[in-house]
């Protein structure tokens, strides 16, 4: 047998004891074990963006499309300075990649970031299991089944854990050169999101724990609340600082930003069974009746009808989940999905224009 025929035999074990066979890819797992909350993503293209999306902090990503790595990786498609997910689960890793933009292969990329993965898994069986029993912690690696299950059970998951502080920028920085000025709270922001904002404004990206007073002191035209990982209840000081900004400056929140905004407005959030992770989710704008195909990545959601004094503008057509809202009195709106779409369809990019319009028509009272 040639060397390539001797893969690292790995197993994936879920907290409920379900076992999957596979082989190791990417970096070696520390102590033979990698654990995290196992979720699945149904995109057909865009694995590099998904792996580098900071919202996956604390999670292990299962790709439902079997061939991953086909077009390699390139530096411009990264969504963050490094991946924050715990690992990846795939059916088949491309040995050879092919694309004119490619500068490397996925396996080396994973290794270079110390990220482990497991390939050869019946990912459809795994997806059906998560669909039926909910996202749950799992562990994979070369360890034996009992050790892996113990690690899975011990995994903190994403509930009640502060993951935002792990992914947020340590220092503020500025991008773009527009006349409008936006302060963007980095709760785990994706670079495509910032690229879109920077086309509208000069954007100062600030750490998640930046006090509201600092923000107001800079008299921005608007405040942006980014996406980010995990439980909005655990997103740190932003939850308590945000009420101080309401009504003082136009605010736009995406994903986790939308959730913390809802909490600040008095709404409630909950953890979904397995969340929305994909690039094909239909969302209806109830005002126009138009349907947007959206990119989504969240395990928590805002309870329908829980946020006082808002118009619920967007609903998910698959399960009726709340996808967007604006406040009846305050210059504030948010969407649960990803209008910047990296990866995913571009149907909802108009929301950035909406934000610009809101800033232009609402004088900052700061």
């Amino acid at each position: 047998m040639s060397a390539s025929r001797q893969p690292r035999a790995y197993r994936l074990v879920l907290a409920d004891g379900e076992v999957f066979e596979g082989e190791g890819i990417g970096a070696d797992s520390a102590d033979g074990i990698v654990s995290g909350e196992v979720v699945f993503n149904t995109v057909l293209s865009g694995y590099q963006e998904v792996i580098t999306d900071p919202s996956y902090a604390g999670q292990v990503i299962t790709f439902t499309y079997p061939h991953i790595g086909n077009y390699g990786v390139n530096p411009t498609d990264d969504e963050a300075r490094r991946p924050f997910c715990r690992g990846v689960i795939i059916r088949d890793l491309a040995r050879r990649h092919s694309n004119w933009r490619s500068e490397g292969d996925l396996d080396s990329f994973l290794r270079s970031h110390g990220l482990a993965g497991i390939a050869g898994v019946d990912t459809r069986r795994l997806t059906r299991h998560i669909r039926d029993f909910g996202a749950m912690p799992g562990a994979f690696g070369s360890a034996d089944v009992d050790e892996l299950q113990a690690a899975a059970i011990a995994d903190p998951t994403t509930s009640g854990v502060d993951l935002v502080s792990v992914v947020s920028t340590r220092e503020p920085y500025t991008i773009g050169s527009g006349t409008r000025r936006v302060v963007a709270y980095d709760l785990g922001v994706k670079s495509t999101m910032l690229r879109h904002l920077s086309e509208l404004a000069t954007v100062t990206v600030v750490p998640a724990d930046t006090p509201a007073s600092d923000v107001l002191a800079s008299s921005p035209d608007g405040v942006f609340l980014s996406n980010g990982p995990g439980d909005p209840q655990m997103a740190g000081s932003i939850v308590t600082e945000l009420p101080k900004l309401l009504g003082r400056v136009p605010i736009f929140g995406i994903c986790l930003g939308h959730q913390v905004l809802s909490l600040a407005l008095g709404g409630t959030t909950f953890k979904m069974k397995f969340g929305h992770h994909g690039g094909n989710v239909p969302v209806k704008d109830v005002r126009s009746g138009k349907v947007e195909i959206t990119s989504q990545n969240h395990n928590f959601a805002v309870e329908i009808g829980s946020v006082p004094d808002v118009v619920e503008t967007h609903l998910c057509l698959n399960d009726g989940a709340l996808e967007g809202m604006f406040h009846k009195d305050l210059p504030v709106f948010g969407v649960q999905y990803h209008p910047e779409a990296g990866p995913g369809p571009h149907d909802s990019r108009y929301l950035f224009e909406d934000f610009a319009r809101l800033m232009d028509t609402t004088g900052s009272v700061a």
């Binding site: 066979e21 865009g46 499309y65 994909g278 009746g289 995913g344």
Partner: protein, 1112 residues
Amino acid sequence: MPRRDDIESILIIGSGPIVIGQACEFDYSGTQACRALKEEGYRVVLANSNPATIMTDPDFADATYLEPLDAAVLAKIIEKEKRDNPDQTMALLPTLGGQTGLNLAMELELEGVLAHHGVELIGADATAIATAEDRDLFKQAMTEIGLEVARSGIAHDMEKAREVVGEVGLPVIIRPAYILGGRGTGIASTPEEFEKIAGYGLECSPISEILIEESIAGWKEYELEVMRDRNDNCVVVCAIENFDPMGVHTGDSITVAPTQTLTDVEYQKLRDGSFACIRRVGVETGGSNVQWAVHPDTGRQVIIEMNPRVSRSSALASKATGFPIAKIAAKLAVGYTLDEIPNDITKKTPASFEPSIDYVVTKVPRWAFEKFPGASGILGTSMQSVGEVMSIGRTFPESLQKALRSLEQGRYGLNCDPGEAAFDQLGDQELLAAASVATPDRPFQLEALLRRGIAVEDLYQATAVDRWFLDQMLLITEERAYLATLTLADVDRRDLKRAKQLGFSDCQLAYLWGTTEAQVREKRLAAGVKTTFKTVDTCAAEFNAETPYHYSTYEDADEVRPGERERVVILGSGPNRIGQGIEFDYCCVHASFALRDAGYETVMVNCNPETVSTDYDTSDRLYFEPLTYEDVMNVIESEKPLGVIVSLGGQTPLKLADQLPAALILGTSPSAIDAAEDREQWNALCARLEIPQPAGGTARSIEEALEITSRIGYPALVRPSYVLGGRAMEIVYDDENLRRAMDELAGFGSLGREGGLSSQRPVLIDRFLEDATEVDVDAIRDHLGDFVIGGVMEHVEEAGVHSGDSACAIPPTNLGAPTVELIESYTARIAAALEVKGLINVQYAVKENQVFVIEANPRASRTVPFVAKATGVPLAKVASRVMLGASLDELRAEELLTEPAKSDHVAVKEAVLPFNRFPEADAVLGPEMRSTGEVMGIDLTPGLAFMKSQLSAGTRLPEAGTAQVTVFMSLADRDKALGAEVGRGFRDLGFSIVATSGTAAMLQEAGVDVDAIVSKLGESGGVHAVELIERGDVQLVVNSPRGRRPRADGAHIRSAAGLANVPLLTTAAAAMAAVEGLRDWARYPLRVRSLQEYHQRGGYPGAVGGFEWPSG
């Protein structure tokens, strides 16, 4: 938005006969649309000339017009519908009948017919259609919205064409406007090639318009299937990446879903561009297909074209994702928006989404070059394939290998089978050179090269097939090399599973290890490597799927739910090919419908994405699988059915009958099928029943063949045993030609490559009955011995023309009642002797009132749907019930089996031939079947029915009285008796006649005036026939050849007629039918009637008992 209530009836135009470039995918889309619109409560009016389609079943529309797809006829249909239903507002949905439907809708619009009758075009309006179809308008529109198009120019004549090519620069691609399947399209690299291709392109385009554009051959090719609703919501149903780069017509390309080598950034750019395109073109609602080329080194994206209608690709996309594009398109056209339509598969989520798939779909075309000697077999920008297969696997290697074994061309997968020896004698460079030209062999050549160690990069440079695809093939090659180091004895579970996951069939492994398929299977199952069936669910398992649409793979978990009722497996007919097409899909689908109605759970197995049978709601369960022993057995073991139907899908399932468990075969026993096939047994049976056969014998050598002909005399019909569609059959007139024919069969011809002459595969030689009338009979016998005749069909062309290529009529127009009775009684005796339980088809030749039996096939024949349309009796449904044990009496009581419609109507079936695709091949009919499809003409006289069948088949016979018509006649000696009558008929119609000297002499002798004598090839003096045709001086050509090997002159004449688009009749019998038809056509006004009217009990009103024209 809700359903539109301001429309009451909707006209759908079908796509007519199956031709290259337009196959049964439009039956699938049309059937879906008819069902969806009926469900919505609209009156559905359907026009389609193809009787083999499921959509033309009277159940699927309120009024089904099996009438010629011609603007004047459609205008009559609209007029009649408006007259019969004066209060109903009518709309025309033009986007479901392929290019044919779209072009006709445009004609009706431009001629003002729609405006006159207040018929609204829904789905796409005339402006949108013109913007998409007119190259110049399309290019302007795309440039306007910022999409890049290839550099190009339009020309309407050669002068302008030369000017354009001067600006664009060679190489260029030439595309005629308003054509289907790329006819007349080609790439020119030299000025000489340019002159030839541009000239032909101008001729092919009905408006003499060609587009000349920069060649983007070698770029990557993509297709996006897009849908839009009236609220401007757009979705991509499926994105497809072609394995074959630009330069090979997408219908001739291996294609893969989803895209494999695009980053999301690039994919979303294509998606944005596709939406911009559909919006700018203005397709208000429905599905469209947008084609793109992407430069492999720079990523430059160029839009190629868009079809503002459902297409072959949308059928593929529907099957690949589980998203029923045509059904949804129909609902969008009547006002719904995507979010108002539920996803059939999940039941809970809406259709306003983009399917996510967790498997790889591969489509591979199937060609029929062996049928057209002289055709190059090189793939290009004009589509040449006659069918396709699709397969589903978890990975590309698995999917590709499954697709290749689905083709049924003797290959077990990507090589690793006896077929791979074909490349052994070629050196590396020779093989690489061969692979650099796109042909059906290319994937096999590429694997052979990889096996010789030729690098992926070298293959990429030679072929422009993406490196990713090549590397995936290399995985198969490497696995094979590893497996070759093992033996059946020492292979373990892990190795077997890996092999199966890469798509290796048991046959391939048996070939590799020098053992049998059965032993591999036994070992594999013992090792616990069993098929797991996964589900096509539109959502990559995110939601629960309610619809059991499965494919096999080798993973951990199987998803098949246990059945609730007794199950019947129906084996489909695989890829369309000449000789086995949509007719068999019709039979399988009907069986499924009938058995579902009778309370069984039906399980369909098939691999053809174009068909209705592979629609997930045709049967209770669908398995998209190759029709091989291994794959079918996997389904049987999973489903544990009551039985398996093998006799409705043509040869494909029939040839599995001997291998499958005998107890499961429903209907006539495999041994009875063999008894009819096997020459010795068959002869004995006929002798016992005292049914005459033409004299004949079986030869295993040239000596034996000569001995037989010395006994029976010439002409003789020579044919190999066990072939389909008359492969390699021929009529020989002397020893010399017999020797040549035997030589070919022995190993030099295409059949020789498939095994050649042997004692297992002897050659059958029969006395050929010249000038005999051929008769086809379809009948059903039940297990009690009760028997019913479905239809007796009299052929127009004499025996010797393959029955599939011959026109035929129900009821027989010239046979006397005693002859018909004799034929019926022979059929009953044969069916009883073979203990038939189900359908039987028997062919006869009648000469001078003597009836000879030619052959019997105790299975569904190609004519079953035609008979059903002509008589109103659902033969396939009845037969499937009989196979499950119902008696004919029980079915009569249920009113499933009814009496044939008794009116004076005549139905004529005519074959449609693809000679325009193969200009090198001779357009002559013979014992080898070459038609791709069929049409039906139905009316109250044989002449009118024949005329309608000709018009439907695209033969526009020159009408009497309109202008001066000149007929050119050149007949074989044996046709000259009938020829005199034909000539007289033409003169009576007021036609001028020009003829070759021999024919002219014969006509003059019979007292028929000839206006001019023309010379044949090689004869000096006078005007030459080919010149006359090319000059447009002749409006009809009657040229009958003698035997299979025509003299060169005849071939030239026929080829000239084909190129000049002059109607061509190649038999005196067809010419006689044309004379009668033209006579009636001139005498009576054009009338249209729906099948429902013809089929009503008691027959068509005013028709019973005499010929009468209803007024109005």
